[in-house]
Point group: C2
Chain length 350, copies 2
């Protein structure tokens, strides 16, 4: 910047103005500055800017590290497919955030969580952005508590997790509503009563809420259910879904009329198992998922599921952050529950 100033015969203040507020500089002066900048290959330092102006023009997103990158090369075809699908969840959020951020003139910094000492990735992100979103259960609560005292943070999915964090803005999805409505649909509209639910071993709040919705619908309809899912998968992958379906079909007693899965990937896996066994979906067994990933629309039969508006969640997150950053810093914490929608397709009999 000093070089540009010297070369164009102005002060550094003027160079600064050319970039921050071009109209406040005489056109002729501006052109001289720009020309000098071009000749010198000058690019303003975002760091220095941020330091001086106390803002970065960048929003952040921290999400969990879904897959172990090193394990990836060993993965076979099916794992790869799962991977493609698993991607969608965080990617939709990234996409939503990127778009909305761009609309507001922000760039997006993304980082998957990585545990570490005082130098954790979250802290790094936090130090480089004006505000950021975190997917639930990505970052230790205490750390988030400290960081959120200094800048806006919005929590995505899941509950707020802790009283310590109840000052954070928060966006979740109506998981229970969705699963309840889907279950009701199977029971009342299709007359199915022997249902089996496949949940997850590692019970995230979202997955728990889905199961809760399932229970509520069953009980409301007088369908007998236990307090636990019929099965819990470890990873919610296609492979696990395929296996879960096999396990459920092999259990003694009447075959379930419907298999409900806590996510789409498992449901897709189940479809494969059923096809292999010569069972027709939905005539012999109905199958449902949850999430509304692209895959769900493409498998045959197309999957009945509950669509989560992940892209919208990303967009809303940015709106919330921007609002905090433009005067709303003292507003009461906002908690949004995004509505989900039941997507009726072939796999339930529709």
């Amino acid at each position: 910047m000093y070089d540009v100033a010297e070369r164009s015969g102005v002060s550094i203040a003027t160079v600064s103005r050319v970039y921050r507020n071009p109209d406040s500089v005489r056109a002729q002066t501006r052109d001289r500055v720009l020309a000098a900048a071009r000749e010198l290959g000058y690019v303003p330092s975002g760091n220095a800017r941020g330091l001086a102006s106390r803002s970065t023009g960048v929003l952040g997103l921290c999400f969990p590290d879904y897959a172990d990158p090193d394990a990836e090369s060993e993965a076979g075809g099916s794992a790869e497919a799962d991977d493609d699908a698993a991607m969608l969840y965080s990617d939709q959020i990234i996409r939503g955030m990127e778009r909305a951020a761009r609309r507001h003139g922000y760039a997006l910094l993304i980082a998957a969580s990585l545990k570490g000492g005082p130098e954790s990735l979250v802290a790094k992100v936090a130090g480089r952005v004006d505000g950021f979103a975190v997917l639930a259960r990505t970052v230790p609560i205490e750390e988030l508590e400290v960081i959120s005292r200094r800048q806006p943070v919005v929590m995505l999915a899941g509950p707020r997790e802790s009283d310590q964090l109840d000052h954070l803005d928060h966006i979740e999805v109506a998981n229970a509503d969705g699963q309840r409505e889907l279950t009701r649909h199977l029971i009342e509209d299709h007359g199915l009563r022997r249902l089996a639910y496949v949940g997850s071993a590692e019970e995230s709040p979202d997955v728990a809420a889905r199961f809760r919705g399932y229970l509520e619908a069953c009980r409301a309809a007088g369908v007998a259910v236990g307090d636990e899912p019929d099965l819990r998968a470890a990873l919610m992958t296609q492979a696990e879904g395929a296996q879960a379906a096999a396990t459920l079909l092999d259990r003694p007693g009447d075959r379930p009329e419907a298999l409900l899965f806590a996510n789409d990937q498992m449901a897709v896996g189940a479809l494969h198992t059923l096809e292999r066994r010569g069972l027709r979906v939905p005539q012999d067994v109905a199958v449902t998922g949850f999430d509304g990933i692209a895959l769900s629309r493409l498998v045959r039969p197309a999957l009945t599921t509950v669509r989560q508006p992940m892209r919208r969640m990303g967009e809303e997150a940015v709106e919330l952050l921007v609002r905090r950053l433009t005067g709303g810093q003292n507003a009461d914490p906002v908690s949004m529950m995004l509505p989900v929608s039941l997507v009726r397709r072939a796999s339930c009999g529709c």
Copy 2:
């Protein structure tokens, strides 16, 4: 930082050490500092750090703005589906870069290009990262030329575009090879000779290379072809593919034995048209795509295509950047051509 130092009775240098190099500080001192930091809600400023240390620990990615965000709400169901698919291209790169960046301790800053004055998004990204990747045709050459004088830039996909930019590292995909091999496969292995090729109106270098591969294979096999694709679609979407298929089928003369599309999305659209018309794929007409997006595996019949290693491209981009940033700044420009792989599935008759 000053507050933390004061509160814990040390100098700011020690506070700095606690974060940068914990082992160089006595454990007891370190704990005092960390405690004070927690009480005060201290988060190190990435900007100040970057400014002082001349590095940010962040890599960047600039990609084109595929969709108009404002047009999105008007989009119908089919457009949405296309959107899901279109996403994959840049998303795979983002994903690959994020993973690789993380491995090397970097975060990733992403921004879709946006035209603008001296304050363009690229410049913004450039000012906040240690190095970045750009998808071809995203950024004006002159701007890139200026920026790349100051920091490593790797160009993704497409040729280098210009002699001005021949000092940049560069990664592309073997488009011509892939399309040539795919075409050869149709001609020689399946004995098809009446082929129709659907390209794009806006001829990107990649798409052009694919058509070139197609021509080469045809000529090598003695199959007559013109110098132009049989049809050029405007946007390469499913909708356009569906329409292109209809157009080709309605042309007078013998029906083509195979429809080759310059990307998967169009091929998928074509599949819909063919199904609607009661034509069997591949018995009546073979169909092929290009890209290897997730969708291609899931449609029925599954699509024969050429898989582009986009994730790998993202990873390699990071490797290249990291290499430049760790001593390799003066090495000769690297140009990689990533191999593609022919994916034989049902839609070609395999």
